[in-house]
Amino acid sequence: QMNFTGDQVLRVLAKDEKQLSLLRDLEALKPQKVDFWRGPARPSLPVDMRVPFSELNDVKAYLKSHGLAYSVMIKDVQVLLDEERETMAKSRR
């Protein structure tokens, strides 16, 4: 099982098309690192992206430097995954 300890899901609210394209650029800047759970679509919709722990500082610095407002939707992905697996095991028992 892949481990996602420390990975976070950031919710970014892009104000306009320019900011959306900055987020699309991120996929090219960090190939196979940033995992868009909700991809950059339109300014009225949030963008959710899972960022590996090792990339968090870079990505947050990138967002800040481009004035992209974000919140932390999931603080540690692995914590939720562990809960999910425990719930499944309990149900199976």
Partner: protein, 310 residues
């Protein structure tokens, strides 16, 4: 593995083996109305199974529902299983559903991407694509919802095999897609197709590959509005609705566009919960409420299909 569906927990997530075992028990216990059809093999040679709900007749107009084309969207398989159980328990009691099944068949493909789904349990919970691999291609997997022969290769799909929206080397190159195409075109009388995804709480209709409105856009808009309004009444969950390209983003090679352009006038795509707290990791406690509200919306679409034969 469970010996019957009675002890199966519909408010939990399950592995592929548990789901396939449930399917066998379910079909055995409800053989008067349900049968299992094996429509093909996945890339890693797993069976691709479809449940058929029928009260008789042959080649009846039918409704197609698929869940799990993106394997990490676990809520979709779980709501699909609950829906299958709901159909057999409501038939003969719920007059809306009974009327539908007296005139139409319903097909449900619960695990549209079995290889990817197995992989989410064994190695990578957040895997989205299938597991196909080809000589000379460094990355694994194709996004099965970009591999259909409609607008293939257009905007909103990626030619980079390492991308999460990699469309594949050619339309219908993936066995999981080709199996559905063969089944639906072979059946020839599917009147509505509903493809279930998560997340972001949307109900959408074609097109995804183009901003141009479909010919019955107004009808689909009103039908989606009715379905979303009915869904809201169950647990107060707000869904937005509209055409895929206008509501979400441009996406090419997708299921509902292929269905629509192959004569299925009522083609819809659901994006189920959540609103933005858990994403793909929606807790199992939300399986049943999500399924309950989805069921009401699906009934609206099925009833409209029944009442508007074409």
């Amino acid at each position: 593995l469970e010996r019957s569906t009675a002890s199966f927990s519909y408010s939990s997530y399950h592995t592929l083996e548990e789901i396939y075992s449930w399917i066998d028990n379910f079909v055995t216990e409800h053989s008067d109305i349900v049968s299992k059809i094996d429509i093909g093999k996945s890339f890693e040679n797993r069976s691709i199974l479809v449940l058929k709900f029928s009260t008789g007749g042959s080649q009846r107009p039918a409704i197609w529902i698929d869940t799990g084309i993106h394997s990490r969207e676990w809520i979709t398989h779980a709501t699909g299983i609950w829906t299958a159980m709901k159909i057999v328990s409501a038939y003969g009691k719920d007059h809306v559903l009974t009327d539908i099944l007296k005139a139409m068949d319903i097909f449900i493909e619960l695990v549209t991407n079995p290889d990817g789904f197995a992989f989410t349990h064994s190695m990578n919970r957040l895997w989205r694509k299938n597991k196909s691999s080809r000589p000379g291609i460094f990355c694994i997997g194709v996004d099965l919802n970009r591999n259909w022969k409609i607008g293939f290769g257009g905007n909103g799909s990626n030619k980079n095999p390492c991308s999460e929206t990699y469309r594949g080397p050619s339309p219908q190159s993936e066995p999981e897609v080709a199996a559905i195409v063969d089944f639906i075109t072979g059946h020839g009388n599917i009147k509505a197709l509903i493809s279930i995804h998560s997340y972001s709480q949307m109900l959408m209709y074609p097109y995804g590959h183009s901003l141009a409105p479909v010919s019955n856009q107004e009808e689909l808009y009103n039908l989606a509005k009715d379905a979303v309004d009915a869904l809201y009444k169950v647990h107060g969950m707000e869904y937005i609705f509209g055409s895929i390209s206008n509501t979400l983003y441009v996406a090419s090679g997708i299921t509902v566009d292929w269905a629509y352009d192959n004569g299925i006038k009522y083609a819809f795509s659901f994006e189920l919960r959540d609103t933005g707290r858990y994403g793909f990791l929606l807790p199992a406690s939300q399986i049943i409420p999500t399924a309950q509200e989805m069921w009401i919306a699906i009934q609206v679409i099925m009833t409209h299909t029944l009442n508007h034969p074409y």
